[in-house]
Symmetry: C2
Subunit: 297 residues, 2 copies
């Protein structure tokens, strides 16, 4: 069976490849790395890019942490093994141009012993302005990745993303969704599941490059920038008030700057702001709902 | 015994007086009111001021809600009466000038029956730049209000504010604190407790006027504005990830625009931003801790 060290190395290599790919796409800024150590065991490499041509602020995190299982992990996962191992790659990019969407990707592996382990992860897209073609391309690309591994993955994980990336108090989805999966485990199939999550990870740069290239030089004005900041406010609401990953990090004393790297460089909250009907902003809100079949729209 | 209707009317009158006082201080913008109705019983008057000379964005909310007790209220309060009544006034002001602090005030009354009722509330100050004189004045003013009602109130409620307005994941207080109290109840003393919370409410405008007048026309540049936005980011972190009032509102399906009125008009998150030592920004961070005796510093 493939070892946790091998999985960790594959994740690390993926972080390297993604950062290289994104630097090429950006063309101006480079990632800055902070390595950090977790006193109780393990650590990580946080990489942040700021003020780029494409990316206003973005982070590509790798971490591998292990040691005695904290009580809250035991409780929330329902296992009481004394030791745990967790590794993952986590990305959020806030683009400069409002016509380019925010994107998030995460893959992770968790292990307690040879019989108790799982993979989790996902990718989701948060356009400030929804472009139906981009949304279809995004979902088609994810479906292609899923279909290479299992015919039912896409439909199940697409639905899971709709449910997970949902801002209950706003009654709207975070964006056009994507895929989300957790606790993937199957006896004697660890290699196959690893191949799937690595494939998800490798799809990230090609997908985002395709979507961002079409728009990153599109002209925009104050109105579009203002709208971008409002949508980023919603993103911050999701990450701070809802996201289980963020909550878990905050409650388990993780490295705070790595956890909150996902927060936008600039965001705004206007009281009771409702865009004019028939505006592009209004249209976008109408599509922020679950169960849209983006591919066949 | 004083009725809930009388308390409600006193709270309403307080909202009126505070809005009038703040409009005078601002001199440019006026409050806009949205009345709303809670389908299950009650409603409120949300008042928001934006783009003023003093206040960039601020809200003064009044609400009185009642009806069948929601299950989550029963659970979180530990009472299972079938009906409840809750009324309160809640304020957050985000000033335009970074040298003027953010301020928050809340007073509330909750009742289940003639024997089960309590008052809660508090005021706390969040300077972008801590001014020791202002902090001393602020705490001295609150101590004066408290002392008029009970000699131990200030020391207990000051400590309570330090503990409540604390951003655990940043290991810093939200600002210089103030007073916080909850579940104040005493048989046959409802009038006295009401007089205390009303006195707290009435102190709001004079205190904030005094503090803001000295600074609202002080010149500032991009550096101070940037720092203000970073501190507002922390404020958003507290309100979205920690504040029990916000959480309660979001989970009980309150009017979302009234609950999130407290969020800043514009906020920023810079990765791992640490101000230069010996800067005013650095000094401010050093004071963001519990148990500072601001009055006798």
């Amino acid at each position: 069976m493939i070892s946790k060290e091998s999985i960790t190395n594959e994740f690390k290599a993926l972080q390297d490849a993604i950062c290289q790919g994104l630097e090429l796409e950006d063309g101006v800024s480079k990632f800055q790395q902070d390595s950090w150590i977790r006193p109780e065991g393990g650590g990580g490499r946080s990489r942040v890019i700021e003020n780029g041509a494409l990316i206003e602020k973005g982070g590509v995190n790798f971490s591998a942490v292990f040691g005695d299982t904290p009580e809250n992990i035991k409780k929330s996962f329902g296992y009481d093994d004394s030791e745990f191992y967790a590794t993952g790659v986590s990305i959020v990019l806030h683009p400069k141009n409002p016509f380019v969407p925010i994107i998030h990707m995460n893959i992770r592996y968790f292990e307690m012993n040879d019989n108790t382990w799982w993979f989790g992860g996902g990718i989701d897209l948060t356009p400030h302005y929804i472009d139906m073609e981009d949304a279809a391309f995004f979902h088609k690309s994810l479906k292609d990745v899923c279909d290479r591994h299992h015919p039912t993955y896409y439909s199940i994980y697409k639905k899971w993303a709709d449910d997970y990336f949902f801002i209950q108090h706003r009654n709207e989805t975070r964006g056009v969704g994507g895929i989300f999966f957790d606790r993937l485990t199957q006896k004697d199939k660890k290699e196959k599941l690893l191949a799937f999550v690595i494939d998800v990870g490798k799809s990230f740069v090609p997908i985002y490059s395709e979507i961002s290239r079409k728009k990153k030089e599109k002209e925009f004005g104050d109105a579009e920038r203002d709208w971008q900041l409002i949508r980023r406010g919603r993103y911050a609401e999701f990450n701070l008030a809802i996201d289980r990953g963020t909550k878990f990090g905050l409650e388990t004393n993780g490295r705070i700057e790595s956890i909150l790297m996902s927060l936008p460089p600039l965001a705004s909250w206007k009281y009771n702001y409702i865009p004019d009907e028939k505006s592009a902003e209004y249209d976008t809100i109408q599509w922020l709902k679950k169960d849209v079949d983006w591919i066949n729209k």
